[in-house]
Structure formats: C-alpha cells, structure tokens
Subunit: 342 residues, 4 copies
C-alpha cells in the first residue's frame, strides 16, 4: 500500500496516524509530495479507514492477485461438518501410511473414539529416498474408505500427480496436496478440477503469498473450497524436524479469516511435542489439527517416531475440545479493522 | 546418543523398539556390531529405559555441556512470584522504550490493572540504525523503578554491555539479555555476576543448543536463575517480522522443564497477531508472555506499530488468565520418559 | 561415521588425529569404550584412512542411500560434449520463456555466437500465480528445437508433470527438472524412464542429502546421467531473490566429483550480479553456467528483470572461457582423501 | 524507490522500460495515477536515468540511512596496502586462536611466505560454550604483534566488548568485529572511536541492510574506514557449517563498490571446501580472503577441523594471485548504471 500525503499536510502527523494503526512505513520524498510505503509485516487496515486520516490524499492498493480466495467463505462444509473460523475445532487422525486393511480399520475406530471427524492416511507416499516404502496405492484407498465409513469418519488423503487425482478423488472427501507438491501447478489444476474441497499443505519454504497463490490456482480450476494446512517450514534448528509457524496460522485465521489446520506431527517430527503444539495451534486460531497415530509405531512403514499412540490420541482428543477458542471478534485488537484486501 | 546392539541380537527388533519410543535413528554397520545414532529431533528418552530394551548392549550419551542448567529448577521465584513450569502464567507489559516519567507511570498503572506482574521498558535500546532513538539511559531506569513500585510491579529491563550492567542491576528485578546480545559472552558473564535472575532472549538465529549454552554461561558466573524468552527467529516470510518458534517453547517447557516466556510483539511485529500468539504461547507451555503496550503508539519513539493499546492489554490480560494450561504431566505422551540429560 | 577407540588406547590422541584430518566430532563415553561421531560438516575422509589411525578399533559407516549416484562418472557426454569435473566449463543460455519462433531463432544465434553450447527456454512454465503466463507448450518446443539445430546448439528444457515428459523428451537433449518439482517422485520417475541425461535443479529449501536422493531416483528409473544445478536457496535477505549456495557447488564438484551447473539468473534474480556469480560459480568448481538472456527484457513474458542482453552475454561468454579452473587435483587439500562413500 | 507515471502516459510502456533496466516492480493504481514500487532484489539504477524515461513524472527515493557509508571510498589503505575494489586481492591468514609465542611466530613466517599481507589470530575468543577455551588475552596480542612485525605482516584481531577495545587497538592494524557482535551498538561505537580501519563481519542472520547500518555506526563514531567480511549465514543444510553468500559479496563489491573480504574457513567449516571458496570469493569480486591455518590442526585449541595446513596455504596463495579478477567496469552489465544511492 502506498499512502500519499496531501501537499499542504504535515507528513509527520500522517505518519503518527499510520503507526497508530499498526503500520510499519518507509517514507519517500518525491519532487513535491511525501509518500509512505507500508511494509508487509504491518497490521491489516482497510483502504477506507486510511483515506479518512486527515492529510491523506491518496491510498494506492495493488490489484489483488487472489480474487477468488478473497471471496472464499471463512467456513467450508464437508459432509455436514463445518470447518473454519468460528466453527468448533476438528481433529484429523490416522497413520502416516495405510499399511493393511485390519490396521486401518482398528485405527479408524480409535480415531473416532477420540473425537476425530476425519481419518487421514497415505496410499501414495512422497518419500525422499526411492528405496523407501512408497505406499500401497489404490487398494489402500479402498481400505481407508471402508474403515472411515465403518466409523462415521470422513476421509482425507493425498494425490501426488495429476494422473492419480481421479482415483484418489473417488475415495476421499477432502483431497490433500502435500507440502512437496504445493508449487506443482499441474497437480493443483487437476485437484481443483475435481470440484472437491482441497486441503493445501504449505510448501516447506513457501511464503504466505505463494501459499495463497497456490490456493487461488485450486479455486480457478474448480475447487469447491480450500483448507490451508501449516506443517512446519524449513529452518536451522536440528532439535525439531521443521519449525511450526503459528504466526502464519494466526494470520490466516484472524486476518484472512480462512480455514487452517495445523499438522504438528510433520511440523515438529517429535512425538513429545505433538500435544503441546496441537493446543497451541488451536489457541492461535487453527480450525483443527491433523495428527499421526499408530498402534505400534515401531512397526510403522514410515515416520513411526512422530506418531502418537491411540491412548495419547484419546487424551489429546478429550483435551482439545475443551480448549476455549475465542471468537475472532474477541481477539482482533480494537484499533485495527481487518480486511482481506489491503 | 549411540545405541549398540548386542552381538547375538536382532538389530531390526532393537530398531523397532527405538522407533516405538519416538527415536529417529540412523543405522551404522561396524565390523561385527550394529549401532544406531539417535537424531536430534527425537523424543527424549532416558538412558536407563533404553538399556532395558532387549538386545541393547550399550548406550553412549555425550557428556552434558550444560551441567548447571541440567540442575536448574523448573520454577524461579522473583520477589515472591513463581515463574515456570506448573506455575500460573505471568504477564510482562510495558512500552518498548521508557519515554517520560509521566508516561511510564501511567502505563504501569494500566499494566497492573490488566494483571501484569512485571513492568517492561527499555532505557538502553539496541537499534539497527545509529540515527534512531537510543534510549534515555539511567534516568529512565529510575522512572521505571518508581512507576513499578507505585503499582506493585516487578521490573525487567535490558543491559547492552558489561559496563552498563551494574546500574541496570541496581534498578531491576530481572535483568534482560536481548536477542542481539545472546552470543556476547562478556555481557553474559557480567549479567551472571550480579546474582540476579536473568531473562535470556533467543538470538535471532540461535539454535536451542546455543541458547542453552548461553544460559549455562549465566549460571557459571553466578546468576540465581534463568528464564528463557522466545522472541522469534529470522526466516524468509516478509508477512511477519520474525517467526515465533513455539516448538522451541514446548521443548523448553515440557522436555527441559525450564521457565520460558514468549514475546510475540517482537516475534511477529504485528499488533494484529499479538493476542493470538499470546494465547498460543501459553498453550504451548510458556510460563508467561511479554507484550509491548503504548497509550499512543503513533508517538512511540520505537516500534510503535507492534504495540497494543492499554484497552487491548486489559482484555488480553483477562483472557490469558482463563486459558487452561495443562500440567506438564498431562501433556507428556505416556510412551516417553522425559529426562533433561539424554 | 562412528569411530570406536580401542579399549587400551588414548581417546584424546585419536581425537587429535581425527581433527587433524578435518573431522568435527562429538565424543560419547560408553560403558567401557569411547566413540566419536563425525558431524556432517566435516571433510570427507575414507574409511581405510581412518582405520589406519593408531588406536582406532572400528569405523562404522552408514550404508549408502545413493548407490547408483556413487558410481556415476564425473563427466557426462551429451551429443559429443563433455560436461563435468575436469571438462571445460559450458554455457547454457536462452530466454526464460520461448515467446515466438522468430525470437528464439534470433536468440539461438546470439547464444551460439557467445560460445554457448546449449539453448535453454521454457515451453511449460511453473508460475506462482495462475494468472501469469504459463508458456506456449508443445509448439514452443518445436521452435526451440529448430532454432537450436540451426545454430548447432543442444536443447535443455523442462517438463512439469509426468504426462508432459514424452513430448518434452522428443524435443530436448537434456531434460530439466525444475526447483519447484525436485521433490516430485512421480516426475523424477518419468524423467528417468526417458533414458536421457537429466539436469536436476535444487529445490529452494532442499538439503544436499535430499538433492542427491532425488538424483538417485532419476538413475534408478533409467536416466543415463545426472547434472546438478544450483539455482539459489531460500533465505532471509530481500536484497537478492534467493541465496546462491556455492559451498554446495564446491562440495558436489570437488567432494562428490559430479557435474554441477550454476544458474545465477534465478539465484540472484538481479541482472547486475549475474556476471560476477557466473565467474564465482566456475571458480567454485561448477561445470558450467546457465543464464537467461533476452533481446528486449522489457517485453519478456516472464522474469525480464533478471535477463541479460545479448551484448552482455557476448562479453560474459568471452570472459568465462578464460577463467582458469584448476583441476580437482589442484584444489583438494593434501590432507584429505576424497571418497564419495563416507 | 517509487516511480509515478504521468497522468497522460501509458503505464504499460513505463513498466517495460523499468523491466528493461532490471527492475522488479509492483504496480499500484491510485485514484488517478499509476505508481510502481521497485522491489529490493532489483538492479541498481540511478534516479536521473529513471527520470529520463518518457512518461515518468516522479521518482521518489528514500532518504539514505547510511550517508557516511555512501561517501566511503572503494579502497582503504592500511599501512601502505590498498584493499578494495580494483586493488589486488589480499590474503589474511593465521590460526583461529593465538596459542603460544613460538607457534604464532612460525605461522606468521609461513603466512608471509604464502603471500599473505595480514596475520590473523584470536586473543579474545567468542565461544558458544563457557567451558571452551576463551583465548589467552593480552599476552597473545603482544605475541601476535611481534610475530607480524618480524615477517612484515599487518595484524587483524578482534575485540569482544567495549572495555577490551583499547588494548586490542594498541596491538592491531585493523580491528575486527566478529559476527556474534555485529549487532552490538556499544562495541561498534567503541571500535569506531579508535579511528582505525575496522573489519566488520556479517552477523550470522544479518541482512545486507543491517550490515551496512552497522558499518555506518562505525563511521559515525570515527572509524577511518570499513572492510566488510562475509563469513557465511545460517541456513538449513548440515553439510556445511554456514552458507557463504557470494551474492552479497558481489553486491557489496560491484553495486556498492566497497571493500569486502570472504572468510570461507568459518563460512563452510570444511577444510576441503576452503580453496574452492577462496577462488570463488575473489571471482565474485572480493577484495581478499581470510583463512585459518594451523601447522598441527589436531592440536588446535579451537576450530582445528576447518584450518588448512601451511602447505595448502602456500599452494592456495600461489593460485589466488593468478586468478584474473575483472575490473568492476568489465562486469557491470551495460544496461545498468550503478549508483550507491537508489
């Protein structure tokens, strides 16, 4: 945003008013006019409010690059369940990979008992090494669908390439795009074309601007709705697998007013931090959490160390639903007027 | 940690047991023995538990580089107030800089009314540009002390170099080391030598290992106790000033069992994210939050855009004290046995 | 690598010998034995050399996760041209996107005149925003092929999804996998199956371990050879678009002894840094550079600001071929004995 | 920079001209005027050149925050030696720590023989752990001074806190500020006040803007000149200790036209990458390199694994002085007109 000060106005006074509203600004002195450029880490303030500041002659706003996302509702409904800002937080649980029909059925039962509304599980797995387990494919999708149905759960699972999208879409309620594929325009196009609600994980080094641009791609191609999922960004500390960015979650929930889920299993990669980060995610404004669970983590074909057990899931489920999540109205500082277009 | 498998034991079984306990391991095949090296982003499991696994012949643990910190209690007491794991969360509030005697007195009153137990405020300011406001120095320390005393608050403020430590120590209850000086061994030494409790902000690119090493330096030189403070790490997204790492907070609180405070004002740099990140910090296990408040942010001499107003502080204070923070016992997954030495 | 000290040997002496060879080690004291774990940022030293150190009882090395890459030659030949360690540095040049038949033909002529051996150009473009230009597709491939052939150049261009691989493979000499798709296992599989030499750009937050794992996937599925391409990693400084990691280039060239190209156009995103980073890349050990060139950057349909003009390319070409690149033998410190398996 | 398009001009044409000059711009549509904001990763173009573009009505440039640095010459002279843009590259060599009088004397001889003009060495060491070797202090300064004098070398060494500056200044030719203290305003003030030339290492997560602001602080307080030193920034890849940012080096040398040194010993932390990164640094435009050398790295009291031996130093010295470093004029793309004020 560029704010131009009127020719006879006091730029220092205008600056105070901008700072008063939470804006970080850089001052530029032109030939005969002063302008302020708002830095991206500023509070979101609407154009109209800025124009009402005495001495402000003009407020230039860039054209939105995400017009469809700007009109996206704060809540999406998936088979009768509301997910998003103001709705009750949800729990998505399940194994990293679907490993057998019996196991996924048992885990579905445990997830349902813990209060989960979604069963997660990978049939097609994106792995760093080509020698690692790559998922059981289409048959695993069928097992997961039947396990979910048997326990009244919805299904969320991932497709890795455009060619896989139709078969995954035939078995899932929400289609997941993984972090490693967030930048894959072709896959986003195919996923959008299913008309499903899509959960879009954040790329491991994606800015919020790139993440929302990927969401726009989904919507342009026909997705019925988007749910964001923060799963940790790459950083420098080896003590956690990734760094969970709950500032981004707060921004999406409270400033953009869009549904966002937190995945602390991949984010921290540490089972001993999962419950605390689930709580923190909900408190930051997340619409829900996604956690990996396994009845015998030692036998898991992928990511066993970060899976919690069904017993921990049960106590986590109990607890999450008692965390008081303030409504967005409560938590917005009274000084700022949110607007998705800024 | 290195785990050696016994010569006649099945390494694959041992691996399962390790993964079952939340350990990420790399396998090394020696001449006639198999060893597993535990990666740093693993759950913390005690040596004794590992030795009880059938087939484990030896468990090698590196000598601790922070023996004093290992013995640090989970709670420190400052003028009658408990701060730490299991204690009620605390609120530290005040302006970025102390700007006048009247203003700090008024803000102290508002902080106290909001439930704060500490008044924060900078007398010596570390600034990126030498042309920016550098703080009012010693006289500001006196104003802050009197303002805090008038409202029953404790004082927390920062020293920037060893030579300043004595005068700061004479006016404060907790001595703060800022993020820009976390690596300054000389300042840590002087701060420790005061015998005060020191709050140690995390360097903007410091690993948890470097952060705890700095805390050890404080303790070696005589600090009575240490409180960690997460204030955001440097990352790539311009939408926030820094990235608040609540995984690190959860790790310090739940795994290391040490006091840790979250500062979302500097962390996000965005006033509109401060309340959500305060809540999230407490939910992650923080012992309290530190927030910047100003009655007229537009007139602030530093960091006005990230300050909240006294009115927002009041509602935030109300809310924070009603967030249910589970005890550490609740949130530790039953599979893991925490131990600060691993 | 884990090094075990013999029971009657002096661990301190062994440690000295390890440090003497450029190894950073952590010491672990087991029940009756001392072990050192070598940290990843250590010089590469062969197992045999370590076993010859007095007092070393055992050296455990993890099983390689990239056996095919370990056997990959330092040079690949593409239509008569050697690319790799010890070969003369090459120049790949062309526009970001192929925009018209006339333009690509003219640019091919200018690239050839500057000494380039490859024509680069995008027919399928991965873009952050779905509203940006996405490339002209298959017809652009034909234009590029004919333009290259007319000027004796080889073609390098990118496929974005498995379904596109056959048509791209039909027109190109080297198939490129872009940074945004480095983690896409499905695309790597399809690219490998063409049997072509594949140039693999580094993901914007990929570790070298992940990058080499992706190269292994290419080889497992049939790629005839791999060329790495460093195009900048994501970091925190807004003054450049990405951060070009020439340490990684030096590591791949001198330690792994594999072909690696540097792309400073995307890496810096700044035309005014491209020549200096080309020189630096070659000096670091790169087998060549890839640069974007456009005769009218202002009219470019993508990434115009980072394109250099044909005139700058001409002087750059002249200069690059006169940079003395020491042979690998020259630059390896005499103390270390390189080995790709460590 | 903000560029305002004249009311009757074609904004698209202006945009083409801006992109043609290497500028990345964002378009803002005001009430009746179009403006472009130039993004920081753009080529540097002077205000006058922009004003000459048809259709440009105004060019607003922010007031410089580093006026003294803007006037800093491209070359500083230290005891008869020119260091900087256009001058011959220099070599600074020596041990991480000064360990004994004999050793530093011998190393000074070897450094001089290799062509070094500066002896480096730490008397006061900033260490992560308080249990590590902290340097031998003032006596080590005397040893280093005499060793340098005996071999016709200049001295460069570091002070860690303001109180140490006078004694260090009494023994050194160039005063070094280390990466861990780049943000320490108090130390910068004391260092500047010596009137010496100061070498300023980049903080491990400092932006170029913060780095130049720190240099300005040195100059404001009286430093006779500044030499920048890139020593690697913190990043995510464990295969190197830090990530050497040669794009920043190219920017400082070619765009800002200021002296900059590269330190690959700390930057990579790997002895086997030091020679390649020395070459690359010079090729990127560095005015010289600083390397750690030790005759018995296994006995070094700090950072032994990254030290090269005198023999490697000798061959490196030979080679460096034969790398052709183009003059800045050569490497500046003809399209852009550099200007330190933009």
């Amino acid at each position: 945003v560029i704010i131009t000060v009127g020719p006879d106005s006091d730029a220092a006074c205008v600056r105070q008013e901008l700072v008063h509203r939470g804006l970080w600004v850089r001052r530029f002195d032109g030939a005969d006019v002063v302008r302020f450029v708002v830095e991206p880490h500023s509070a979101r303030v609407g154009r109209e409010e800025l124009l009402r500041i005495p001495g402000v002659a003009d407020v230039s706003v860039p054209k939105s690059t995400t017009p469809l996302l700007d009109g996206h509702p704060p809540v999406v409904r998936v088979r009768g369940l509301d997910i998003g800002v103001g709705a009750a937080p949800i729990l998505m649980a399940g194994p990293c990979s679907v490993e057998s029909e019996e196991r996924i059925l048992a885990l579905a039962g445990q997830a349902a008992a813990a209060g989960a509304s979604f069963l997660r599980g990978g049939a097609f797995k994106p792995r760093t090494s080509c020698y690692d387990f790559q998922g059981l494919g289409e048959q695993a999708l069928g097992w997961m669908r039947r396990a979910a149905d048997a326990h009244g759960l919805r299904v969320i699972t991932e497709a890795l390439e455009p060619g896989e999208v139709p078969v995954v879409a035939a078995h899932t309620d929400v289609l997941q795009i993984g972090a490693r594929n967030m930048h894959s325009a072709r896959l986003l196009r195919a996923a959008g074309a299913t008309g499903l609600v899509v959960m879009l994980k954040r790329g491991m080094a994606a800015t919020i601007e790139e993440w929302t641009a990927a969401a726009e791609t989904l919507l342009v191609h026909g997705a019925r709705g988007v749910i964001f999922c923060e799963r940790g960004v790459r950083s420098f500390d080896p003590a956690t697998r990734f760094t969970v960015d709950l500032g981004a979650v707060a921004l999406i929930a409270h400033v953009l007013q869009l549904p966002v889920i937190v995945d602390p299993s991949h984010g921290a990669g540490r089972r001993d931090l999962v419950p605390a980060l689930c709580r923190a995610g909900i408190a930051a404004g997340a619409s829900g959490v996604m956690v990996e669970v396994h009845d015998a983590p030692g036998e898991a074909l992928s990511d066993g160390p970060q899976a919690i057990t069904p017993a921990v899931l049960a106590s986590l489920g109990n607890e999450l639903f008692s965390v008081r999540q303030p409504t967005t109205r409560d938590c917005r500082p009274s000084l700022t007027i949110g607007s998705r277009v800024s």
